[in-house]
Symmetry: C2
């Protein structure tokens, strides 16, 4: 029996993007269902009753939620090359640590910068840049976070790349200036079709944030 | 060469408790170093420069941070029986999901209840009880979250048990009444010496919260 794989997704989501990249890396065929997050489908509410969030991967009818957990699941189930998790337990713990760091920090801080008043804006902008500088330091001189191979942390972070344009616009800074090595890493990742063909368009995302910001401000 | 295992810990921490239970389950010998969290040791700051938090497991000089990541690491490195993670990838994803749920919900909500003013108090109390009811529903009629065996989710949740007494005191409710099946599960867990000999004393914890609350209120 062929695997039935369905992804409940939203095109703009960095977390959905992660799962799309992981599935592309493994060459898994799947059906993608775009969710309207303001009017969630009965299927999404049924498959993720706890958080009611995308992405949800439905594998032969069984739902898996939370992007970092889904990527690990994909790596464990479709365990052919390329592996996404390191084989060494210590390296694996480090990879989990950095994806957790990204999950704790990047989205929340960028949102605070994006929505903050002018006094707080500088604080959140500095905080966001310091997070990227930390991630750049962690990468060091390695080509990828998974050393020579594109892996779990690379998937976890590159999914935010389409948002860099919005971060730069709202923060009035340049990633190229602040984190040149991280931008060089982005370019290496973008040489992979699994990444370049999956990431959403940065300008469309920026337009979307403008619309969202306006809607929030008029409330 | 024998493994050198050091745990940077704080007796009251549910996250430190998790790691202690996992090490006890695996029969790993280690040196425990109690941290003064108001005056953190140079070793803690060196080993966890990112979050500066306990617990940190230092294995042959290499630090591992974040309790859920540490427990997975322990299970992968000391991979003799009993296994803590399920062997099936789907079950493993579910176990990760529930530990993540506990990490997202329990501590934050209990703290909000504990520190809130009277109007908000009922809201957070209800929220906390609903989280435990959800966890009880997830357990269902199984003896442990890992089915017949005590595993990753059991370790992740039982570490909060010593705090139930404080939750009940601050919330004016009884876990036995609200979640009788969860309390029966606690009793099953407590039959394991790895748990009963590891958990901190509930009354000492409560006294500590009273002192903390007073200090915060007088600020």
């Amino acid at each position: 029996m062929e695997d039935e794989v369905v992804l409940l997704d939203s095109w703009a989501s960095m977390y959905g993007t992660r799962v799309r990249i992981a599935l592309a890396e493994k060459g898994v065929k799947y059906e993608r269902k775009e969710e309207n997050l303001r009017n969630k489908s009965p299927l999404l509410l049924q498959m993720n009753p706890i958080h009611k969030k995308i992405p949800v991967l439905i594998h032969n009818g069984n739902p898996i939620c939370e992007s970092a957990i889904i990527v690990q699941y994909i790596d464990e189930v479709w365990n052919q090359d390329p592996p996404l998790m390191p084989s060494d337990p210590y390296e694996r713990a480090q990879a989990r640590f950095w994806v957790d760091y990204i999950d704790q920090k990047v989205y929340d801080t960028s949102r605070k910068m994006w929505l903050s008043t002018s006094e707080e804006h500088e604080t959140w902008k500095k905080e966001l840049i310091s997070i990227f500088k930390q991630l750049e330091e962690t990468l060091g001189d390695k080509p990828f976070y998974g050393d020579d191979t594109f892996g779990f942390v690379d998937v976890g972070l590159i999914s935010f790349y389409s948002w860099f344009y919005s971060f730069e616009k709202y923060g009035n800074f340049k990633m190229e200036v602040e984190c040149p090595k991280l931008v060089a890493w982005v370019k290496r990742c973008m040489q992979r079709e699994t990444v370049s063909k999956t990431l959403p368009d940065e300008k469309e995302l920026y337009d979307r944030t403008l619309t969202r910001k306006k809607a929030l401000e008029s409330k």
